[in-house]
């Protein structure tokens, strides 16, 4: 176990210092070991590499190495026109791609001074909430897999499929809908969609009950998640941890309610769930409640869906006036924001993409100190990140 690192991504050299060699230990202490979790590892949802230094099974230090999937969207965005960029940003958080499009399109609309018609806003809200359900529902199942229960993971995939079918039938794309247009939406909802959506929402609610029965009430699940990976609320905020991860630490902050008003959220009645513990269990519990809340919101939206056009009058070639705008939304994984700088061209001059998982994962070195290897997986699972959302 030498400290020679092959050329590639940089790992904190402090991790490799004073590693015990193959010499006999006179003391009962065992030498530290470096373990590479990833870049190919089932618990990392992609190509995250987590270099952990272990004393037995206890983590001494951890260093997440990211960038294996960095696609340079910020640079690419400078070479694309506004409508083209939605195709790129779809792929940031590929599980909730529709929700990624919303803040960008919203920002471009703000800069251009146009507003999508109410029906478009409501459909956008419905699809955003559906992406949220699809994303978080998968988490609810996969969290079981992270702690070793195989069955819930399949349930998660099974019911998410129904939501994806809904998204597909409305937008034509299961994963990358690219459905938003600056000023509205590409199409209206297909015939019969609303009824279909209602039945699916019922199934999702039932599925949530199943998760509650199988995992939340399970002693082993509680033993594995309670008190594991506690994020103090204040520290989490300073790290930029957002979304359900922060709300599980007792910080009552949801951009849908507290941010600048966007989409149809100001007209909805919903509860922001928080939990005071800040551990993995709390994160699971908050997400479970949020899924139910999202179902409630979708039903409200379906009930009150206004009639009207789905597209505002926009120029055929989109040129965005000079200006800067910061748009942020509450995405399934947390705060998603774009800082768009326009110089009056058909494409942005600079787009800063603030993705939720990037900050959520940046707390890992602090969070993983002193936990056991299995807890590493639990914690990573409960933070719930998507690699595309870290690497952009």
């Amino acid at each position: 176990m030498t400290s020679t690192e092959t050329p590639g991504f940089e790992v904190d050299p402090a991790l490799y210092s004073n590693l015990a060699g193959s010499q006999v230990n006179v003391e009962l202490d065992t030498g530290d070991m470096i373990l590479n979790l990833g870049p190919q590892h089932p618990a990392t949802h992609g190509t995250l590499r987590l270099v952990v230094r272990l004393d037995g099974e206890r983590v001494v230090a951890a260093d997440p190495v990211i960038g294996y999937m960095h696609r340079g969207y910020e640079k690419l965005s400078e070479f694309r026109t506004y409508p083209q960029i939605t195709t790129l940003i779809n792929r940031i958080d590929w599980l909730s791609s529709f929700a990624n499009e919303v803040p960008f399109v919203h920002g471009a609309e703000q800069l251009m001074g146009i507003e999508a018609p109410p029906r478009a806003q409501w459909i956008r809200t419905i699809l955003t909430e559906l992406s949220r359900i699809a994303t978080i529902y998968l988490f609810l199942g996969e969290m079981g897999l992270q702690v070793g229960a195989l069955t819930p993971a399949f349930w998660g995939f099974r019911d998410r499929e129904l939501v994806l079918n809904l998204i597909e039938s409305a937008t034509g794309g299961r994963f990358h809908p690219n459905f938003n247009r600056i000023g509205g939406l590409k199409d209206d909802l297909p015939w019969g969609w609303i009824a279909e959506c209602r039945t699916t929402m019922d199934k999702i609610l039932r599925g949530c009950d199943d998760f509650e029965d199988v995992l939340v009430g399970n002693e082993i699940f509680e033993a594995r998640t309670r008190g594991i990976g506690i994020i103090p609320g204040e520290l989490g905020a300073a790290y930029g941890v957002s979304g359900a991860n922060l709300r599980a630490s007792g910080i009552d902050w949801d951009l849908r309610r507290d941010g600048k008003p966007y989409l149809a959220y100001p007209e909805l009645d919903f509860k922001v769930w928080t939990h005071s513990d800040g551990d993995s269990f709390a994160r699971y519990w908050v997400r479970l409640q949020e899924t139910r809340e999202a179902v409630r919101m979708v039903i409200q939206l379906l009930d009150g869906l206004p009639a009207g056009p789905i597209m505002a009058k926009v120029p055929r070639i989109i040129k965005v006036p000079e200006g800067e705008v910061w748009v942020e939304t509450e995405n399934p994984l947390g705060q998603m924001g774009y800082y768009i700088v326009s110089k009056g061209a058909t494409g942005p001059f600079r787009v800063k993409i603030r993705s939720a998982s990037f900050s959520n994962v940046s707390i890992l070195p602090w969070l993983l100190r002193g936990v056991y290897v299995p807890d590493v997986i639990t914690i990573m699972g409960s933070l719930y990140f998507i690699l595309g959302d870290i690497d952009r």
């Binding site: 694309r80 703000q110 902050w253 603030r354």
Partner: protein
């Protein structure tokens, strides 16, 4: 530089109904009326930071403050202590220089969506081509502020925020490798996204995007007609 700083275009929502056919005509320059809430927030900020503030603006309801480089870290402390901005959203950089067009005007426009040739500096202006900016928010007061500062062009350096916001660590590493901005006081600045041996600062405007060099931008072709906009069918 303030004279050529384009202020926020005043585009009230009502104008959405107007069919705007030529978007370039929209950029009406007009001094914006600052939202009172934003103005109040700025007053708090200025009261705490004092003469560190260079300029400020209200950009679509978000306070943007430009501070002096030596007040950069103090701005973070002020934001955290006096503005209750406990939440770090991001830290990043921006290069205001227009991208060079290596192939020249004859060789086709390679830097596709045509950007202006002159250097302009956006909201609150800048002294040079490189700026660092960050957005911090309050989870309790639900407000946020974008803080900008100028950094020198050769050997850009600015104070690190890690001691104020621990989450600044990765953001500053990203900014360092993407823009070459050094953060003094950062515990260990090293590559984040890019391999260790990578050279250059990819997000600087003079860093060419290789894909565009190889295959030039074909221009806007085959524009999809918008729903309800069937006046101009056919090619553009």
């Amino acid at each position: 530089m303030a004279d050529e700083t384009p202020d926020t275009p005043d585009t009230p929502d009502a104008s959405a109904d107007d069919a705007v056919t030529d978007a370039s005509a929209v950029a009406v320059e007009e001094v914006p009326a600052i939202d009172p809430a934003v103005a109040a927030l700025f007053e708090r900020f200025e009261a705490a930071l004092g003469d560190g503030v260079v300029d400020h603006a209200d950009s679509f309801g978000t306070l943007v403050v430009r501070v002096k480089p030596d007040a950069w870290k103090r701005a973070a402390e002020v934001a955290r202590a006096d503005l209750d901005c406990d939440y770090l959203s991001f830290i990043s950089g921006i290069d205001w220089m227009p991208a060079p067009k290596p192939a020249g005007d004859e060789g086709g426009d390679t830097s596709a969506p045509v950007q202006p040739d002159t250097m302009t500096f956006g909201v609150t202006g800048s002294d040079g081509r490189l700026q660092v900016f960050a957005h911090v928010q309050s989870t309790t007061r639900h407000w946020g502020v974008t803080i900008k500062t100028d950094v020198a062009d050769p050997a850009p350096t600015v104070d690190s925020w890690v001691s104020v916001y621990p989450g600044a660590d990765w953001h500053e590493r990203e900014c360092w490798e993407m823009y070459g901005v050094d953060f003094s006081g950062h515990p260990k600045i090293r590559h984040l996204y890019l391999p260790g041996e990578f050279e250059g600062n990819p997000l600087r405007k003079d860093f060419a995007l290789l894909a565009r060099e190889v295959k030039p931008w074909p221009g806007l072709v085959d524009v999809e007609p918008m729903p309800g906009d069937d006046t101009e069918e056919g090619d553009s």
